[in-house]
């Protein structure tokens, strides 16, 4: 007996769509749980007050500040390096052995798990360079971790800029650098911005690499050499040590909402770019 191929087609189509919606359902459920359980404890005062008794009471103000500092510093370090690399790879050199080695390096960095970054940052920045558990050690570690994302997205964005723009600029007498800065980068800016936003999301959510380099002090960091705690680390400690489930959910809510907002913004920016050139 031969089963009608059209029937199979229909069945497969149903099954596949169920899989896709099931997976989206996982996301919806995660966000829903965090929202419902977190919203009652999460208000402006939660975000703006200091924690008391290890976080059992009070808010997460120092963790928010710690997160902001970590993100700002690592973006500050990684962006010029990443864009510089992308410009070099796309504008200043032809494909060669050297570029393929650099690409190999970037790919390898992207594949290294965060706990290895934690180990490295701990032994190199914290111990050997004597920074101790500090914002700076955390930011340096995070810089290396987000660099591949910034390089790859910037490279894609720069590659997507039409060749004509460069040719016209050169014909008007502009040097290579003038062309890059005044013509190529402005057109590639939204794409580069997407990469930066994705990196911010990654840094905000990271735990393993941060906890061993920035430490987990609950005090408000006042200098670059102070230890601090990000929201993700705070959430991990609250949940793992069973300090307070209510506060853990509330922290998770702030964490997840900020990451989703950044990622949605990144997606929106990228979409605007792709529709511009296609």
């Amino acid at each position: 007996m031969r089963i009608n191929p059209r029937l199979i087609d229909k069945l497969v189509s149903r099954t596949l769509s169920m899989q896709a919606y099931f997976t989206v359902g996982i996301l919806v459920i995660i966000v829903f749980i965090i929202f419902v359980k977190g919203i009652s404890n999460c208000g402006l005062s939660f975000m703006l007050t200091y924690p008391e008794d290890m976080g059992r009471h009070g808010g997460i103000f120092p963790a928010i500040i710690g997160t902001l500092f970590l993100v700002a510093l690592s973006i500050l370090f990684a962006t010029p390096l990443g864009i510089g690399t992308a410009i070099y790879l796309t504008e200043y050199t032809k494909e060669s052995r050297f570029t393929s080695i650099i690409r190999f390096g970037v790919e390898s960095l992207a594949g290294i798990p965060s706990i290895i970054y934690g180990l490295f940052g701990f032994i190199f920045f914290v111990i050997k360079l004597g920074m101790g558990w500090s914002l700076l050690a955390g930011a340096f570690t995070m810089t290396i971790m987000i660099l591949p994302t910034i390089i790859r997205t910037s490279e894609e964005a720069i590659k997507a800029v039409p060749k004509n723009l460069r040719i016209v600029s050169h014909s008007l007498g502009a040097t290579k650098w003038e062309t890059t800065v005044k013509v190529v980068l402005p057109s590639a800016a939204p794409g580069i911005l997407t990469g930066i936003m994705l990196s911010i999301g990654r840094a905000v959510g990271e735990t393993a690499a941060v906890i061993f380099t920035m430490g987990s002090s609950l005090r408000l960091p006042t200098s670059l050499m102070d230890s601090g705690r990000t929201m993700a680390v705070h959430f991990y400690i609250l949940a793992r040590e069973g300090i307070s489930m209510e506060k853990a959910y509330a922290t998770a809510l702030v964490l997840v909402v900020s990451i989703l907002a950044i990622n949605i913004l990144a997606y929106y920016t990228m979409n605007k770019v792709t529709s511009k050139y296609s």
Binding site: S13, V24, L89, I102, P113, I115, I116, A239, R240
Partner: protein, 288 residues
């Protein structure tokens, strides 16, 4: 005067950009150098065999066996793949071959957002919902190979979906049109023409998903139970290479700390092999 000045400026800028590009290599070198320098001496001191195939981890007594953790890391990775691969591939195929424009506009970003959820959140929800569920309805303490596989299976979905989606969409349109023109149904064209053509990309997505699962730390610590033996059952607790490092790094010193770096050396080797394999698989297709 002025043209030569401009030339000089261009030259300096090129040097700076080269230095930027070189920095990634420098960082990679530093990471390897420091993990190896800290981790390798113990291999000489205790012996490779006693570390890699040693059964007992008791760093304060000079025992650094990580064999159970290596086995556990592989077990959770295959468990994750067992759950994540069919689901992820289904999503990718649906997205690439079946979904309409409107559906795609909603599904694709939604699936990509899964990648943004931090691993601690996955671990936390695993502890709150999956672990008690297993304890109550299946047995054991709940902290288990099964729970870890489920959590990791969900966490590797974005990797599998996005890479195999790219592989599927890069199959030329004419392949599909050819198959459809010969009277095949959508599924016949997908299963016999498109998927075989995208085979290596799909394989690479699974290998990279494995890399993600081997390297995951915080979520695993929270749901795996962290027991120091080889699990013999889906319901047994276990400790992976990554959790071993993260659980003990904050208080370890001396040989104990070196033991954690040795664990890191083994982990890094596994990751590099997986990345190389994925690269190899992808490159072979490009050449073809």
């Amino acid at each position: 005067m002025s043209p030569s000045k401009a030339v000089l400026k261009e030259r300096i800028i090129k040097q700076i950009l080269t230095a930027c590009a070189f920095s990634s290599l420098l960082f990679l070198f530093l990471i390897f150098a420091f993990i190896l320098v800290e981790g390798l001496p113990l291999f000489y001191k205790v012996g490779v065999k006693n570390i890699v195939f040693g059964m007992k981890w008791a760093p304060t007594k000079g025992l650094f066996g990580i064999f159970p953790m290596i086995v556990s890391s592989f077990l959770v990775t295959f468990g994750a793949l067992f759950i994540g691969a069919p689901l992820g591939l289904g999503c990718a195929i649906y997205l690439a071959e079946y979904a309409g424009r409107q559906q795609k506009l909603f599904l694709k970003p939604a699936l990509e957002l899964l990648a943004g959820i931090p691993s601690v959140v996955y671990g936390f929800l695993g502890v709150i919902y999956i672990v008690p569920f297993i304890r109550q309805f299946i047995g054991g303490s709940g902290f288990s190979l099964l729970a870890t596989s489920i959590v990791l299976g969900i966490m590797i979905l974005p990797t599998i979906i996005s890479i195999s989606y790219d592989a599927l969409t890069s199959v030329p349109r004419s392949y599909r049109e050819g198959a459809l023109a010969m009277g095949s149904t959508q599924w016949q064209s997908t299963s016999r023409v498109v998927i075989p053509a995208a085979k290596s990309g799909i394989l690479a997505s699974c290998i990279l998903g494995m890399g993600r699962a081997v390297g995951e730390t915080m979520a695993v610590i929270m749901v795996a139970g962290n027991a120091l033996k080889i699990p013999t059952d889906m319901l047994d607790p276990l400790r992976t290479l990554t959790s071993n490092i993260a659980l003990e790094l904050s208080y370890a010193s001396g040989d104990h700390r070196m033991g954690l770096f040795s664990t890191g050396v083994v982990l890094l080797s596994i990751i590099m092999v997986l990345n190389y394999l994925a690269n190899f698989v992808i490159r072979r297709t490009v050449i073809k």
